[in-house]
């Protein structure tokens, strides 16, 4: 059997977490290749349907990284994201997705090493959970 390699979608904000990813890159800190980064201007623009879509389309985990509360470039986008992600997490759990498959974390622009750490840790979590229920299902 083929070894399980998770597919992880990470939606990160341009101003903090993506900059942290850049910093990790220039500092030569590598992170697992299972992570697919999607850069957004703000986590506040994440419609919960993006998360649903990722999971239904076969993602094993979704990571959302934004600015620390109070640091949002758009004042309170990250707080909005927190509310929406909370709702999405609740719904996903109701439909049988393990709650750990969705994570929201604040990573500031200067936190390159923390970015690497979070990515490694999240990949480990998803690896331990195994494939998501929708990986093979013909649903979307």
């Amino acid at each position: 059997m083929e070894e399980f390699r998770p597919k992880i979608v990470a939606m990160v904000c341009n101003w903090c977490t993506y900059t942290a990813a850049d910093l990790a890159g220039t500092s030569r800190l590598d992170y697992p290749a299972e992570i697919r980064l999607v850069r957004l201007m703000c986590t506040g623009m994440i419609d919960p349907k993006y998360i649903i879509k990722a999971f239904l389309d076969g993602a094993d985990g979704v990571f959302i990284g934004g600015c620390h509360p109070g640091d949002c470039h758009y004042i309170d986008g990250n707080i909005k994201a927190e509310k929406r992600v909370k709702a999405a997490a609740s719904l996903l759990e109701q439909f049988g997705f393990e709650p750990d498959r969705l994570q929201l974390t604040w990573i500031g622009a200067s936190e390159g090493p923390e970015f690497q750490e979070h990515m490694k840790h999240f990949t480990q979590t998803i690896n331990a959970l195994g494939p998501s229920q929708t990986r093979e299902l013909m649903v979307l």
């Binding site: 349907k49 509310k83 719904l91 439909f95 013909m138």
Partner: protein, 363 residues
Amino acid sequence: MTEFAVYDHKPSENGAAKFFQMLLDEHIIDGLVCPAVTAWSPLPMPHLFTSVDNPELLMPLAPVAPLSAATQAARVLRSASERKIAVVLKPCEIRALIELAKLNQCVIDDNVLIIGIECLGRLDNQTYLDRVKENEALSVSFYKNEKLRDDIEAACRGCTDFLPEQADVSIVTIGNDDATLFAIHSEKGKKAINKSRLEAFEPAAERKKQVDGIKERRENIKAGQLTSINETIGSIDGFQQIIADCINCRNCQTACPVCYCRQCVFKTDVFDTSPNVLYKRAGKKSGIKLPQDTTMFHMTRMLHIAHACVGCGQCTSACPQGIPVADFFRAAADRMQRLYGYKPGNDSEEKIPMLSVGGPDAE
């Protein structure tokens, strides 16, 4: 403390309609939104009246709702107006109207008098039409004879919010022998009732017992319904057992009184998937079911508006495939509303959770 007022002590099939006629005749209101039958069909549809010539046509208590009248009432109430208007709605419709007002889709100000009915459920259109053919006084006997309520819609069977507490005035149907009786819930309602010179009244003591009894029975049914549906939708595979036949017609969305976006994202290019993408998706999983995005549609709709779901069950009624949409929607709503500590349509001052940033539950 709720006060009561009586319009007509004598048994009257359509006392409430006569009361509305009097409100219009005496210019206490300038307009009335109320279900009424048309010359062409016995199915009551919401109407906007400026005068009532034949009160027999008005059917405020008919146990049927071909659509949620909240959407239509919101159309009439879109902008603030000098006209005084009364809207006659079922409790779930009132809650939906209040949600729509919070979303700036309509204005409920001092000129708008909300008249609720104590609703014991609705029948689906066909059942109603069959019944009303046999029993012309169905709108009266329905509230007295429990047997007639055996096959109300599933959403209604488990509805515990059957008293229109958010209304200004409500038509009393529980524990009321034929009199045309109103309960007054607000100052606005009191003013209107005083203007119509209705006399105060004290309903029978049994009323409270009856209300509590219905509430308790309904709460048990609701708990059973939720447990059973939550078991089924506990996995995407289980969820497919319910929605596999979805044809993506979006009737449930059109019928939903709180799904208010003028331009729904599901009607945009975002979901206008190209053949290349379809092939790519099919290749990933040996094949894909068409139409695509049915699961996506239902889950997104739940995420977008489950917090505002008033449990009217119109989505189930609208489904041409017989999918019990309201069952899983209400399960999602129950969970989401508990998560946010939010009761839709309960209080017009209460903020919508998604729109209140930094509220009490912000961590």
